[in-house]
Amino acid sequence: MKNISLISNLRLRGSYGVNGTLPSSNYGWRSLSTYTNKYMEQPGGAVSSIADPLLSWETSFTSNIALEFGLLDQRISGTVEYFNRNSKDLLQDVPISNITGFYSTLKNVGEINNRGVEIELSGDIIKSKDLNWSLGITASHVKSTVTKLYGGQDIIWYDPTGDDARAKFIYREGQSTLALYGLEWAGVEDATGKNVWFLNNDKTATTTVDGRPATYRYQDASEVIIGNIHPKLFGGINTNLDWKGLSLALNFTYKLGGYTYDAAGRDVSDDGYYWERIMSQDQYDNRWTPEHMDAKLPQRMATDMEDVNQRSSRHMHKADYLRLSNVTIGYNIPKNIINKVKISSARVYFNGSNLWTLAAYKVYDPEVNAYGTRGWEMPLGKTYTFGVEFNF
């Protein structure tokens, strides 16, 4: 092979593997009785779970292939990786008829496929004795789809976080694995300040929005897939700058595409029925009033039909964001000064995390949990750390 001076490193690698994931509950396969129902200070027992004797673990078949390269004597390096993972016997808490006595049971429901591309690129932009500047970017694009459902039927399931069914999802063949399911909100009618919902069924429409049939009563509207939690692109950007003992490091994380679901909205953005409750500033500022008729949220009325409590696209917001997750500024005190006091090295630094965010939806922190939902969790705080490091 002839040497190409441009390319300093080129490597192709790949792997294939099979692994399993255990069910979340050790005894999901048998029906259990527990003894936590004390009565009159005597022990009380009750059947507490319903069983699926055929419950098995999830099997994942993963394959990936990657190309690593380095250019210009490793001045620029990167990796492009493609992976594909097929999971069989997907484990999911599936809602069952409440008449059985239980809300849900753990079952192997179907098969999903996760595949994507990950690109990593880093380079030393400036490399000299006094000044060094390097930049790195990672970007991932992952597509996650439900390929097969064993029962043939769609499965409706709920976000398990917090145990209060705060978001509704659906598994449907060919759709995303985190497909939000709910009513499609058509916004607020400018003339009246009322909520309007897209019908999505054959019932007679009481109004139209953008040419589509709509209604004022959420009970008449049908639920549909309203959004996909998974983003189109996500990753990080990091950069390091060094000049004569001063160093600056910045770390960004970003997400493009996808949605988040606001589960706390129904508590703090109520449309007036629960007038004795707290109200979010956003809801107060953006509510419809006769002076503000193009508002995005409806009028607050004590006779509200509790429309806000429906799971709908009203609570679904864009998830795009760019966040400065870490800043570190440091200064290595020159050796000629510290050697005089017998210190071998000393460094002063400032570290800040979560100092700056740019987000498509500004009302709550866009970094949400794995299900893309936000509830009453504490938002991430900003931290400022100052420090001195000595080595004797």
């Binding site: 003894y35 009565y39 009159m40 069983a51 069952i96 029925y273 629960y274």
Partner: protein, 491 residues
């Protein structure tokens, strides 16, 4: 060396695989439900668990009692949005305020009863039954009958309105996770209720007031439930006979006028035929308890004043300003002279029946109800027995000493129903009686007008209103496509 290693490895595998079930680990804090009931002691543990679940907030612990009063016209609200007010304003839909807790809690309880009945039946079939074991089976059968009685009145039309209409799914044994049951008719449900009570009658304990039976179901509780069910079905002679069995039992006595208020601060009094125990750190709901919800807002820290008596109720009780039942009423948040707040579940001194305001027992069935059921049944049977009707009514009516007692010629159904309203305020009976009697319920909406305008129902309703019964919850419709077309009309 290598050959020895291989030999040791093979030996190891052979020895380990001969340890049968070494990888088969049983949980340490629970048991397999198929084998959890094998003895009388196990059955007692299971029945205790069932009683505890019946005292859950979704059932007799709070919501079922609130349901029976918030909708009956004797309750009024001072503010909207405080919670449970959807019951008063009838703001129900399958996905919002469906009170799905009734559906899911009751079917969970029915599963516990079915499991116990099935296991005991297995033990009896194997020849190892005993009277003690049968007693627990009887308790489970009676509990199941009561729960189906409550379920069918929540979700189905009244028996005397249309018994061929849809009731609730009838489940008599533990179901598989994939089951998709459909609704049985109201008549089929009542037939099962009557059968379960008849099966329970000969095998339950006849003890009254013993340590073993306090807080559980005995023979007289079964008779009392039979009286209620027969009255609902319009079978007046049967209702009268069942009620009279309880009335005749001298161990149960009515509270005298001077003891009536104090009875709310006592556990397992002489009128308690079926009382569910609520102990601290068990079914105790603390500031979410019935007691707290009915206290005037800010009376004590955590009291919310969710409901108070309507003007109609206060007018009825005011027929006699010396009525002993005024003793359990306190002034409400609207004025110091309006006594609409109720202290039944907190006790007059807010110390309940055990020393705390919230851990207070629920008196599910009291002797006074038997007297009034007997009075109504005697009056309404084919050949009315006016003397009985009058005597039984007067036993309760004397709690309003200034009112002239009824006589066999003056006793009317209205007097009996009014007495029931006065006596059982906040005990979950009024709405079900009004629906059974096909009466119009007029709500005291002007009490909160114009602050709150109620749009989800008219000011007066009767049992033809589609929201007189609850919708099947959306979560059930989503998970059980077979029942989806059987949703209650209007929802």
């Amino acid at each position: 060396m290598k050959k020895i290693n291989i030999l040791l490895a093979v030996l190891g595998i052979v020895l380990l695989s001969s340890c049968e079930g070494f990888l088969d680990v049983k949980p340490s804090n629970s048991a397999s439900s198929e084998t959890s009931i094998t003895s009388v002691a196990d059955a007692k543990v299971a029945i205790s668990g069932l009683m505890r679940k019946m005292a859950s907030s979704d059932y007799y612990g709070r919501n079922f009692i609130m349901y029976g009063d918030a909708k009956g016209g004797d309750f009024a609200i001072a503010s909207q949005g405080r919670g449970l007010d959807a019951l008063y304003v009838f703001n129900h839909s399958a996905s919002s305020n469906s009170y799905s807790g009734f559906w899911s809690q009751l079917y969970n309880n029915i599963l516990q009863a079915n499991n116990l009945i099935a296991r005991i039946t297995e033990i009896e079939a194997a020849g190892k039954g005993s009277a003690a074991l049968s007693e627990y089976k009887g308790q489970a059968l009676a509990a199941r009958a009561l729960m189906y009685f409550d379920l069918v009145r929540l979700y189905g039309k009244p028996y005397n309105m249309d018994k061929t209409s849809l009731g609730v799914p009838l489940v008599l044994e533990p179901l598989d996770a994939s089951a998709q049951p459909t609704r049985a008719t109201v008549e089929a449900v009542y037939t099962q209720i009557v059968k379960d009570l008849a099966d329970a009658e000969p095998i339950v304990s006849k003890a009254v007031g013993t340590v073993a039976i306090k807080g559980y179901i005995n023979y007289y509780a079964v008779k009392a439930i039979q009286a209620k069910v027969n009255l609902e079905m319009g079978k007046y002679p049967e209702a009268l006979a069942a009620a009279e069995v309880v009335i005749a039992k001298t161990s149960y006595t009515l509270y005298t006028n001077d003891k009536w208020v104090g009875s709310w601060s006592t556990q397992f009094g002489s009128e308690s035929i079926f009382e569910l125990a609520v102990y601290p750190s068990e079914a105790d709901l603390l500031t979410s308890s019935l007691g707290y919800y009915l206290l005037r807002t800010a009376k004590i820290s955590g009291a919310m004043g969710w409901f108070m008596a309507s003007d109609y109720y206060l007018a009825r009780l005011n027929q006699d300003p010396t009525d002993v039942r005024w003793g359990i009423m306190d002034y409400d948040e609207t004025s110091k002279t309006r006594f609409g707040s109720c202290l039944k579940y907190a006790g007059v001194d807010l110390k309940g029946d055990k020393g705390t305001t919230s851990a207070v027992n629920i008196k599910v069935i009291r002797l006074s109800e038997m007297y009034l059921i007997a009075a109504e049944a005697a009056l309404r049977q084919a050949t009315p027995d006016m003397t009985k009707a009058s005597t039984y009514l007067n036993a309760i009516r004397k709690r309003a000493p200034a009112l002239a007692p009824s006589t066999p010629t003056t006793v009317t159904l209205d007097m009996i129903i009014d007495e029931k309203s006065k006596e059982f305020f906040a005990e979950g009976l009024r709405y079900f009686d009004m629906i059974r009697l096909n009466r119009t319920i007029t709500f005291n909406d002007d009490f909160i007008k114009p602050a709150v305008i109620i749009t989800h129902r008219p000011i007066s309703i009767d049992r033809t209103f589609y929201k007189a019964i609850l919708p099947i919850p959306k979560s059930e419709l989503d998970a059980n496509p077979a029942i989806k077309p059987q949703q209650n009309p209007g929802y």
